[in-house]
């Protein structure tokens, strides 16, 4: 190999290394921009007032994001309560008992669910689910409800839409972790006289526990981060959600709703500071998944 060819080889490798490092660089750049743009706000109103404040009124320079944090937690919890059982059962079905033709039907369906744009989910939610919830709120529950809670745009609606959206994540990760189990587990259990269901319930499911947990946490991350669909169905009032039918604004929707008109200054800084909070939240979720996966590898 001539010297020029050798240099070319090395150059090629260096360029590839640079592209591989880019993901890291972008993550650092994102963190840097969030904190650099949001920092002046922490300095002006203080971290505690920002995270623990209950009123968000940009015009009066009140920037408390606690209602939005509560909102994000509320819609995510509703989404998980619906999506986790449904997702786990569907994943067990796919991994264990689905006949070939059902696999060919369910798997593409899950893929397509994952591929539908979030605005389409939002449109579906606002024209299909919101009217149902509104009907429920105005007829069955009208007497016991505050008038502000009767519009149908609510924690429940947002949770339902999010539940559908995070279903593919939960199904895919759970099915993968069930399929990755050594076949001996099931064989040994069946050989001991356990039924197929007993093997699933007492052997396979517990063995795949950490993988399933990782899937649920990933789904949680998606629900916390989702923006458009939530804006379209949640009502977006920046108040503390007190009921399943109360309108709600999440951290993400707060940013998307106000960024387009927030001029440079404290308002925009507050939105970047919320971005920093979201960033830290996703890093925690990511670390949790990493930790679970690491423990999984160690125990095997």
């Amino acid at each position: 190999m001539g010297p020029i060819a050798k240099i070319k080889e090395q150059l090629f490798e260096r360029v590839l290394l640079a592209t591989a490092l880019l993901a890291l660089i972008i993550i650092f750049a994102i963190a840097m921009f969030m904190f650099q743009q949001g920092y002046p706000l922490f300095k002006k109103i203080g971290l505690l007032e920002f995270l623990g404040g209950c009123t968000w009124r940009p015009l009066e320079e009140k920037f408390g994001i606690l209602p939005m944090i509560a909102g994000s937690i509320a819609v995510t919890a509703v989404a998980l309560i619906i999506s986790v059982p449904l997702g786990l059962l569907t994943a067990i079905f796919l991994a264990e008992i689905a006949p070939q033709w059902m696999q060919h039907l369910v798997r593409p369906a899950v893929e397509l669910l994952a591929a539908i744009p979030s605005v389409v989910y939002g449109l579906f939610g606002m024209t299909m689910i919101v009217p149902y919830v509104r009907y429920l709120a105005q007829t069955k529950l009208a007497l016991s409800l505050d008038p502000g809670y009767r519009a149908g745009y609510s924690v429940l609606t947002a949770g339902l839409v999010l539940a559908i959206m995070i279903l593919p994540t939960i199904i895919n990760v759970t099915e993968d972790s069930l399929r990755l189990l050594p076949p001996q587990y099931k064989e040994a259990s069946l050989a001991l006289g356990a039924t197929h269901w007993q093997s699933i319930r007492y052997v396979l499911f517990p063995a795949a526990r950490s993988g399933i947990m990782a899937g649920i946490i990933l789904g949680m991350g998606r629900a916390v981060g989702e923006t458009m669909a939530v804006i379209m169905v949640a009502g977006n009032t920046p108040i503390f959600p007190r009921s399943l039918l109360s309108p709600v604004r999440t951290l993400t929707s707060n940013i998307a709703l106000e960024m387009p008109y927030a001029g440079p200054g404290i308002h925009r800084q507050a939105l970047y500071a919320s971005g920093a909070v979201l960033f830290i939240l996703t890093m925690i979720i990511n670390l949790a998944v990493l930790l679970i996966r690491f423990r999984q590898v160690k125990t095997k």
Binding site: F33, M34, G122, M232
Partner: protein, 276 residues
Amino acid sequence: MTAHQRQKAAFCLLWLAAGVTVGVLVVILAYILLQGMPHVSWEFLTAESAKMGQEGGIFSAIVGTFYFVLLSLIVAMPLGIGAAIYLVEYSDNENLNSVINFGIDALAAVPSIVFGLFGFAFFVIFLKPITGGWSILSGSFTAACMVLPTLIRTTQEALRAVPTSYREASLALGATRGQTVRWVVVPTAIPGILTGIILSLGRVVGETAALLLTLGGSLGIPHSIFEPARTLSIHLYLVAMEVGAMDKAFATAAVLIILVFIINLSAGWIARRVLR
């Protein structure tokens, strides 16, 4: 209840869950298509919007989507594929690998609105002299950052599926590592890489939140990549939320769903051809 009866009951539940999952998809697709398709016509696809999208068609959004998606992929493809090649074919430093992998996973987990904030501060404001502020270029750069993880992961899988014997044979013939990668490994992995590109394309088409802050959302037909534009997803959001023209929103949603459907089908088709 005996163990077998219990099994029967449990399996019924499993079938039911799978049925519900498929049922939800069918309901959504049927609902959107039934509401939207009657309003989709040749004129709807080729006419420009009028009155903020209340009347007319979606031609400018289609043009905007096309430019934006194409540019995002042009930016993201070499970066994502290069990173995957490095991780699979070159790097043997475990520590460096796990740090890079953490970065990729972290990037995949960042909410799209945070990408939007980043894109706004960096591409729209900081790099304004280059990108022209809110523009197709700013939006594409932001979207390229977002699809990088998908692209890297799928390309890695495609490269790992290439048998080691191919590499050994090429190296034994006297080819260098770089030559082996360029002339043997990557060509063999092309169909898998293509599947990843198409999946990324689907993600870019559906993206909205980040673009709200970077692409500009203008209704006119963009004449260069330095001008603002809107994609079909943004158009759908603005028409449904701010204009309230639901018939136009449904029609746009139907077009989007069909687009996503075609993208997914072609990805599946390529993947199946590889397995053969």
